[in-house]
C-alpha cells in the first residue's frame, strides 16, 4: 500500500449518489416491452397428497396466457441447485406438498391482477396428511415427512465430520473421564435458537426474457449469486452458460435469503420460453414468509465440564437442527458452518453432534451468520453459565481457556487451522474501554436498590472468507452437483484507452458497498482517482465465474483477486511508462493519476498516455503485447478467522419483564480495514440483527404448519426506537492467508450479539434464581421466568 493510500481512510461510497436520489435500479425498476406477470398457487396444507388439479377455469379467465403444473415442468427435473441429501424439491409440487406455501401451479397473465384472479380459479384437491413441526417429534420420526425415509438426513459429528480426510479421535471418552473426577463441575442447559425470517426490505423479484432466435435467456433476479443462478438455468434447459445472462442489479438486502437458486427463477425462464414474452414475478411480503428460505431453528443441549478455578475440560453440544421440508443450496451445510467454529476461541476438548432433521415447514438455509451465530450462542451461553455456577467472573473464565497468541497456527477441535488470533488482547481492549469494574459496581449498586441491571459479555471467533478450493472435495462447492461454479474469487482490472479504469468482480453485493471498497483497492494500486474507476458486479456475462456475496467472503477472496489483477496491470504499465520516460520499469511509481520516475516527480506521464500507448501496439517496447488489463482467479489457502468481544448493559423491569437495552459495546477484529465507514456499517447491521433475535424476532408455526408470522406486522423487526446507538472499536490482527490481511465482517456482528443480550438479561435476574430464558426475550417470557424462579 502506498503512503498516500485511500485504503483505511474516510471515503464516501460510490453507490450513494444514485441511491439517495432513488435512481438505484432494482429488478422491479427494470422494464421490458411486452411483459407478462406470473402468480403462484400455493398449498394451504403442510402435508398433503394432491389428488387432482383443475386448471380449466383459470385458463379460460381473462388475460390468462398459461397455467402450468408439475405435468408441464416435470421433464426439467428438480431444481438442480440443491445439495443431494434427502428429497429434492420439484419445480412445482408433484403429487404431494410438504409445507404450507409450496408452489403447486403458476399462472401467467397480462398483468398481476388478472393472474391473481385466475390463480383463485385453480382448484386443487388435497388429501391432508399428518404434519410434523416440532423438532423433537421430527427427530423421533413420530411422523415422517418424506415417505418411509427417516427425518434425520444426517448428523455432523465434530471429530468425524470429513470421513477419510480429517480423522480425529473421539473426544467423548476423555470428556466423560473429566466428568467423573471429584474436582470437576458439570453444567448443562437446553436452549432454543429460534427460527427467523431473514427479511430483506426488497422482496425477491425475477424477470426473464427468452430469445428464441439466439436460443438464449436473460434473467434479472434479486440474487446474491447470479452466476449460480445462471448455472442452474443452463443445466435445467440444457443450454451452455454463454447463452444465459443473469443480472442481479441493485439488490435491496440479502442476508442469505437471496443466496439460493429458487424454482421461481427457473420457472419464469420456462414460461418466457414457452410464451415468447418476458415474464415477471415479484414476491409478496406474505410469500416472503413461505416462498423464501428461513434461518436458524435449533434445539440443543450444551454441557461444560470444568474445575472450580475456571479451567474447562470439555464442551459438548448436541442439537437438532431444523432443515424444513427440503434441502436447498446450503441447508445441511449451515450446521456444518457451526461445526467449523466448534470450540470457538478456546483450547479445550469439544464434542459435537448436530442432527439435520426435516419438518413440514419451509426450508431453512443461510441467514446472516449461518450456523455460526447458533454455535456461538450455545458456547457463549454455557461458558457464562459455567462461570456463574463456579462463582467466577465471566471474563476471567474466558481468558483462562483462550488460545494464546503463541499457540497459532491452531488446529481447531475439528482439525481446521486458525491462522491468527489474539483473543485476550481483544477482550481486554473491550473491558478497558467500557470500564468493566466500574460497570459491575454500577450494576451492583442498582441491584442493591432493587433495580434489575444486567451486564452481558460474549466473545466469539468466526470462520469466513470461503473458500479454499480443497473444500470443494467435501461437496461444499456447487461444482460438486453439476453447477459450473466453485469457491474462489474473480477480478478483472482494465485500464481504458482514456486512462480511466473498469473493474469487474465476481461478487453479488446487496448493500455492502463493493463498488467503493474495490475502487479503493485499485486506486491504491494504480494511483488512479476513485472517480475514474468504475466497478461492475452482479452480471454473469461479465466474468466466466463469480461466486457471489455471502459468508463474509467477498473482500478476502474476490478482493484479493482484484488486488492481484491490479498488481499485474501496474507491472505492465510500469514497463510502458518506463519506455515512454526512458527509465527502468522498477523505477516507475504511480500516484495522482500518473506515473513518474522515482525521485523525479516531473519526469511523468499521465495514465491516459500510458493507456494510449497500450492500445497502439506499434508504440510499445519490443515483446510487449497490446492492451492493459488483467483477469485473476484467486483461491485462498485457508478460510479467515475474525473474532471479537461484545458487551451489553440492560435493565429489566421487575413488574413487566420488559428489557431496556441501555448500552451496547463491541470490539471486533476483522484484520485490516479498507473502509472504516463500511466496516462499521456492517457491524451496526449485524449487531442489530443479533439483538433482534435476542429480543424480538421469531418465526412461529402452529401445529398444522401454518406460519403465523408472515407479515411485518406480526414478525417483530426492530424499528428505530428499538435499538441503542452501538459503541464500536476494533483491534487489528491481520491474516496472512491473503495479501490484503483482510478477514471479512458481514456476519461478525450477528455472531457476537444474540448471546451478549441473553447473558445480560440472565445476569440481571440470576440473583432471583433464573438461569436461562429462551429467545426472543419478550416481556412475558422474562416476567414468567422471574415468577417461576420465585416458586
Amino acid at each position: 500500500m502506498t503512503s498516500t493510500s485511500v485504503m483505511g481512510g474516510i471515503v464516501r461510497r460510490k453507490e450513494d449518489p444514485s441511491l439517495i436520489q432513488g435512481k438505484g435500479a432494482y429488478v422491479d425498476d427494470v422494464k421490458r416491452t411486452g411483459e407478462l406477470a406470473a402468480v403462484f398457487v400455493r398449498s394451504p396444507f403442510a402435508a398433503a397428497t394432491i389428488t387432482s388439479i383443475d386448471i380449466e377455469a383459470a385458463k379460460a379467465a381473462p388475460g390468462v396466457h398459461a397455467v402450468y403444473t408439475a405435468d408441464d415442468v416435470r421433464h426439467l427435473g428438480p431444481n438442480p441447485a440443491q445439495v443431494a441429501v434427502g428429497t429434492l424439491r420439484p419445480l412445482l409440487a408433484d403429487g404431494a406438498v410438504k409445507h404450507v406455501g409450496e408452489a403447486v401451479a403458476m399462472v401467467v397473465a397480462e398483468n398481476r391482477y388478472l393472474a391473481q384472479d385466475a390463480a383463485d380459479l385453480v382448484f386443487v384437491d388435497y388429501e391432508p396428511g399428518e404434519v410434523v413441526v416440532d423438532l423433537k417429534d421430527a427427530f423421533a420420526d413420530k411422523v415422517k415427512v418424506h415417505g418411509d425415509a427417516s427425518n434425520i438426513l444426517l448428523t455432523w459429528h465434530g471429530h468425524g465430520w470429513w470421513e477419510g480426510v480429517i480423522d480425529l479421535p473421539d473426544p467423548s471418552p476423555g470428556i466423560q473421564e473429566a466428568k467423573e473426577r471429584d474436582d470437576t463441575v458439570t453444567v448443562s442447559l437446553e436452549m432454543v435458537n429460534q427460527r427467523l425470517l431473514p427479511t430483506a426490505i426488497e422482496p425477491r423479484a425475477v424477470l426473464a426474457d427468452w430469445n428464441s432466435g439466439y436460443g438464449s435467456v436473460e434473467l434479472w433476479s434479486s440474487s446474491q449469486i447470479p452466476h449460480a443462478v445462471a448455472g442452474a438455468v443452463g443445466v435445467t434447459f440444457g443450454i451452455p452458460s454463454n447463452k444465459v445472462r443473469v443480472v442481479a442489479p441493485e439488490v435491496g438486502g440479502g442476508f442469505g435469503v437471496k443466496l439460493n437458486v429458487y424454482p421461481d427463477e427457473i420457472l419464469v425462464c420456462f414460461a418466457s420460453k414457452e410464451l415468447g414474452r418476458p415474464v415477471r414475478w415479484t414476491e409478496t411480503r406474505r410469500e416472503a414468509g413461505f416462498a423464501s428460505t428461513q434461518g436458524r431453528g435449533w434445539v440443543g443441549t450444551a454441557t461444560i465440564t470444568g474445575t472450580a478455578d475456571g479451567k474447562i475440560l470439555g464442551y459438548e453440544l448436541e442439537a437438532i437442527c431444523d432443515m424444513g421440508a427440503y434441502s436447498h443450496n446450503f441447508t445441511v451445510a449451515v450446521p456444518l458452518l457451526g461445526l467449523f467454529i466448534a470450540g470457538g476461541q478456546y483450547n479445550f476438548p469439544t464434542s459435537y453432534a448436530l442432527h439435520c432433521v426435516v419438518t413440514n415447514t419451509q426450508t431453512t438455509d443461510a441467514y446472516r451468520g449461518a450456523g455460526r451465530p447458533e454455535a456461538a450462542y450455545y458456547l457463549e451461553r454455557i461458558v457464562d453459565h459455567f462461570a456463574r455456577e463456579i462463582g467466577m467472573d465471566p471474563a476471567d473464565v474466558r481468558k483462562a481457556n483462550y488460545w494464546k497468541p503463541e499457540d497459532f497456527p491452531v488446529q481447531t477441535a475439528i482439525g481446521l487451522t486458525m491462522d491468527s488470533g489474539d483473543y485476550e488482547k481483544n477482550l481486554d481492549a473491550l473491558l478497558d474501554r467500557v470500564g468493566y469494574e466500574d460497570l459491575k459496581a454500577k450494576r451492583d449498586a442498582a441491584r442493591a436498590e432493587g433495580r434489575l441491571l444486567g451486564l452481558g459479555l460474549s466473545t466469539y471467533v468466526e470462520v469466513c472468507g470461503f473458500g479454499p478450493s480443497a473444500l470443494a472435495g467435501l461437496g461444499f462447492s456447487w461444482g460438486a452437483y453439476g453447477l459450473p461454479t466453485a469457491f474462489n474469487g474473480s477480478g478483472v482490472v482494465r485500464v481504458q484507452p482514456d486512462g480511466t479504469c473498469t473493474v469487474t468482480i465476481g461478487t453479488g453485493p446487496s448493500g455492502q458497498g463493493h463498488e467503493t471498497t474495490w475502487a479503493q483497492i485499485v486506486s491504491d494500486g494504480l494511483g488512479i482517482a476513485m472517480d475514474n474507476i468504475e466497478v461492475h458486479h452482479g452480471d454473469s456475462v461479465d466474468l466466466p465465474m463469480g461466486i457471489g456475496t455471502f459468508g463474509s467472503r467477498s473482500i478476502a477472496v474476490d478482493g484479493t483477486a482484484t488486488f492481484e489483477a491490479t498488481a499485474r496491470v501496474r507491472k505492465k504499465a510500469a514497463i510502458i511508462a518506463g519506455h515512454l520516460l526512458e527509465a527502468a520499469p522498477e523505477d516507475i511509481q504511480f500516484a495522482d493519476g500518473r506515473a513518474h520516475v522515482a525521485g523525479s516527480p516531473d519526469r511523468a506521464v499521465e495514465w491516459g498516455q500510458i493507456a494510449e500507448s497500450a492500445y497502439q501496439p506499434h508504440t510499445l517496447p519490443e515483446g510487449v503485447e497490446g492492451g492493459l488489463e488483467s483477469s485473476v482467479v484467486f483461491s485462498p489457502p485457508n478460510a479467515t478467522w475474525p473474532f471479537g468481544s461484545h458487551m451489553a448493559l440492560v435493565e429489566v423491569d421487575p413488574e413487566t419483564g420488559d428489557v431496556d437495552l441501555l448500552e451496547y459495546w463491541a470490539t471486533d477484529d476483522c484484520g485490516n480495514v479498507i473502509n472504516p465507514m463500511i466496516v462499521d456499517g456492517q457491524l451496526h447491521g449485524g449487531i442489530a440483527q443479533g439483538i433482534a433475535q435476542a429480543l424480538y424476532e421469531e418465526a412461529i408455526y402452529d401445529d398444522m404448519g401454518n406460519l403465523l408470522t408472515s407479515s411485518m406486522a406480526n414478525y417483530t423487526l426492530p424499528v428505530s426506537t428499538s435499538l441503542p446507538l452501538f459503541s464500536l472499536d476494533r483491534t487489528v490482527t491481520p491474516t496472512d492467508v491473503n495479501p490484503l490481511g483482510v478477514k471479512g465482517v458481514g456476519e461478525a456482528g450477528t455472531i457476537g450479539s444474540a448471546q451478549t443480550i441473553v447473558n445480560a438479561v440472565v445476569d440481571a435476574v440470576a440473583h432471583l434464581g433464573v438461569r436461562h430464558i429462551d429467545m426472543p426475550l419478550r416481556p412475558k417470557r422474562v416476567w414468567q421466568a422471574i415468577q417461576d424462579a420465585k416458586e
Partner: protein
C-alpha cells in the same frame, strides 16, 4: 376495470393520468409515471419503503389510492434535490453511510425531511419517533440517526 382520469401534482408538475380507479399512489407513481424512486416493500403499509410526502407530511403510498391525493402536493425522492444539488439530508446520508442497500433510503429520507420541516432541531428521541415507521434491515439505524442530526446541524448553521 373502471378507468378514471387523475390529475396529480408530483414534485411541482401536474400530471394527467388515465388509469384504473383502484390503483394505489405507489402503482401510479411507478407504473404510470415511471417514477421508480419510490419503492415497494410490503404493499401492506408495514415497512415504510413507499413513503412519499403529501402536503409535506409522510404518507404510505402503497395503501393510499391515487384518487385520494388529487389536488395535493406530492413529493417523491426524485423531487427532493434542487436540480443537481442534493437536499441536505441526501448529502448527510451519503457522507455518513446511512444508505447500505438503498431500498429503504428514499422513504427514510422523505420521513426525515418531513421531520426537519416541522422540527428543525430534533433530539435523538424525536428522530427515532419520526422514523419508527420506516424499517431498515441494514444499518441498525445508527448512521441514519446520525445523518439526520448532521443535516439538522448544517441547516441551522451550527458548528458540526
Amino acid at each position: 376495470m373502471t378507468e378514471s382520469i387523475l390529475r396529480l401534482t408530483v414534485n411541482g408538475a401536474l400530471h394527467t393520468v388515465v388509469t384504473s380507479s383502484h390503483r394505489t399512489l405507489l402503482e401510479v407513481l411507478r407504473k404510470d409515471l415511471d417514477m421508480t424512486g419510490t419503492k415497494h416493500g410490503c404493499d401492506l403499509g408495514e415497512c415504510g419503503a413507499c413513503t412519499v410526502l403529501v402536503d409535506s407530511k409522510p404518507m404510505l403510498s402503497c395503501i393510499t389510492l391515487a384518487s385520494q391525493v388529487e389536488g395535493r402536493e406530492i413529493t417523491t425522492i426524485e423531487g427532493l434535490s434542487d436540480g443537481p444539488f442534493p437536499d441536505e439530508l441526501q448529502t448527510a446520508f451519503s457522507e455518513l453511510g446511512a444508505a447500505q442497500c438503498g431500498y429503504c433510503t428514499p422513504g427514510m429520507i422523505l420521513s426525515s425531511r418531513s421531520l426537519l420541516d416541522t422540527n428543525p432541531d430534533p433530539t435523538t428521541d424525536d428522530i427515532n419517533e419520526a422514523l419508527a415507521g420506516n424499517l431498515c434491515r441494514c444499518t441498525g439505524y445508527v448512521a441514519i440517526i446520525s445523518a439526520v442530526h448532521l443535516a439538522a446541524t448544517r441547516t441551522l448553521g451550527r458548528a458540526e
